[in-house]
């Protein structure tokens, strides 16, 4: 048994060495495939992150009745604060509102020009934890006593959600397309490898080799190809993504990026394990037809 195990491993290594060009081509293929795959996962993560950040910019503007005094307003704010689905709440007093507006108009004497009358109401700005909850929260708030009017970009909201959903779907489609292409590339390549040795497999069977003895060297080859290709592509994707992150952080700081260490390590693990699994699976598919 031990004889056979060591034989199978030696067998796989010798075959990788004797077919060195095929080995290099296979590693390059696995590499390309995994780079596409890893890259697209990062693309998906960032697309989804971007969509979330778009959504998080949706605000509900709550205008307060003029007849409410300061305590009542603060009370109102506290009331909204604890509602389900509410993330943050910010109060802009009417005094601040006019100053803000004054600055935005570039004037410094607006209140005086207006004869001391402040046309702005008190305003509470509410952010929801999820864009999909905005409409419900706004309707609830509108019912509260002392609230004059509630606004949250009706109409736009729906479109935005549709758009970000769409962005996410595109991201998933890209990952799926690349995963499919990766699998095709790797399988095809290993199939080549095995097919070119069909003759060899037949002869092994004729001299009494069991299926296991024939299969295992191919499986180990597939595993090794996936492993080596995986390591190299992790290096390339890792360096490339870090470089991109640096670039975005220094020059496009307003763009939200995914730079979570744990996430990156998971993607790299996925690439390595994915490569190895694909390598072995491809070998299984490729060898199977010769071993009925």
């Amino acid at each position: 048994m031990l004889n056979q195990v060591s034989f199978v491993i030696v067998q796989a290594l010798v075959s990788l060495k004797r077919n060195i060009w095929l080995t290099i081509a296979s590693i390059l293929t696995v590499m390309t495939a995994l780079i596409l795959l890893g890259g697209s996962v990062f693309f998906l993560a960032n697309t989804s992150n971007l969509a979330t950040s778009f959504e998080s910019q949706i605000e509900i503007a709550v205008f307060i009745n003029d007849n409410q005094n300061r305590e009542q307003v603060i009370d109102l704010r506290n009331q909204i604060q604890v509602m389900a689905g509410v993330d943050t709440v910010e109060l802009t007093a009417k005094e601040d509102a006019i100053i803000e507006f004054q600055e935005s108009m570039g004037s410094s004497s607006l209140l005086e020009d207006l004869g001391g009358i402040n046309p702005f109401p008190d305003k509470i700005t509410v952010k929801a934890t999820d864009a999909r909850l905005v409409e419900g929260i706004a309707n609830q708030i509108a019912e509260i006593n002392g609230v004059d009017k509630v606004r949250y970009g009706q109409g736009i909201l729906e479109k935005l959600i549709q758009f970000t959903d769409w962005l996410r779907w595109i991201g998933i489609a890209v990952v799926a397309a690349f995963a499919f292409a990766s699998f095709l590339l790797i399988t095809l390549n290993i199939k080549t490898n095995v097919n070119s040795r069909e003759n060899e497999i037949q002869i092994m069977r004729l001299v009494g080799a069991s299926n296991g003895l024939i299969k295992w060297p191919f499986f180990i080859e597939g595993l090794l190809l996936g492993f080596i290709g995986g390591i190299i592509s992790i290096g390339i994707v890792g360096i490339g993504y870090n470089w991109l992150l640096q670039y975005i952080i220094t020059t496009l700081a307003f763009l939200p990026v995914v730079a979570d260490q744990m996430f990156m390590i998971s993607v790299f693990a996925l690439m390595l394990i994915g490569g190895m699994i694909m390598g072995v699976l491809a070998s299984v598919f490729a060898v199977r037809k010769f071993l009925k």
Partner: protein, 224 residues
């Protein structure tokens, strides 16, 4: 040992290779198969190690009915059987040494044992100097002798030799025949298809003549 009962073989393209063959070969016998090109000799041999299956009839090795054999057991059958293929069937990516070693690795022999056995048998067929060559680097006769070495190295219970001397000069051919005779005397059943009538005559063994898929003549050897 080998028992062929009412066997016919029609290949999938419709070619009729064997028609209603009956043949009994007992343990330790040496049988020549002769007959013109395309008569069905190789087909008959292929049935005996189950490279092909009989279209009709049964082939038994001992008590095993080959057409009922579980696919998982085919390798076991082949490990008891040594085959010298008419077209050699050497592994192109393995050296001469490795080709002969492979037949022993499949039955799980130890590394040390394999090495000794392989070097011995290569010496016997006169290929010690070529042990690190690949099959594509050998002459026709050298390839044939590697195939002989591989078939003999496990001292099989049955040896099937399909035209084992077709590419060999007279001296080498007799060298191989002496090996086959020796292994036969040690108990191996030998079936050999050949066109070399001078060998058949000199060996004086049982001869089965096949023509157009039928056994047309049958001579018992001197031992009978």
């Amino acid at each position: 040992m080998i028992s062929i009962k009412n066997v016919s073989k029609i290949y999938s393209n419709g070619a009729r290779a064997l028609s209603n063959i009956n043949l009994e070969i007992s343990k330790s016998e040496f049988v020549f198969l002769v007959g013109p090109s395309g008569a069905g000799k190789s087909t008959l041999i292929k049935l005996m190690y189950r490279e092909e299956e009989a279209t009709r009839g049964q082939v038994f090795i001992d008590t095993i009915n080959l057409s009922r054999l579980n696919p998982k057991q085919v390798p076991l059958l082949r490990r008891r059987t040594g085959v010298i293929f008419q077209d050699f069937k050497l592994l192109p990516t393995k050296t001469v040494f490795e080709n002969v070693a492979f037949a022993q690795q499949v039955i799980g022999k130890s590394k040390q044992e394999i090495k000794v056995n392989t070097l011995n048998i290569l010496e016997l067929v006169g290929l010690s100097r070529k042990k690190d060559s690949f099959p594509s680097e050998l002459s026709g006769g050298e390839q044939q002798r590697v195939c002989v070495a591989r078939a003999l190295v496990n001292k099989p219970q049955i040896l099937l030799a399909d035209e084992p001397t077709g590419n060999l000069d007279i001296d080498n051919a007799w060298g191989i025949m002496e090996l086959l005779d020796k292994i036969n005397r040690e108990g191996t059943t030998v079936v050999m298809a050949t066109h070399a009538m001078h060998i058949v005559e000199k060996m004086a063994k049982r001869v089965v003549k096949v023509e157009e898929g039928r056994i047309t003549d049958h001579k018992l050897g001197e031992a009978y």
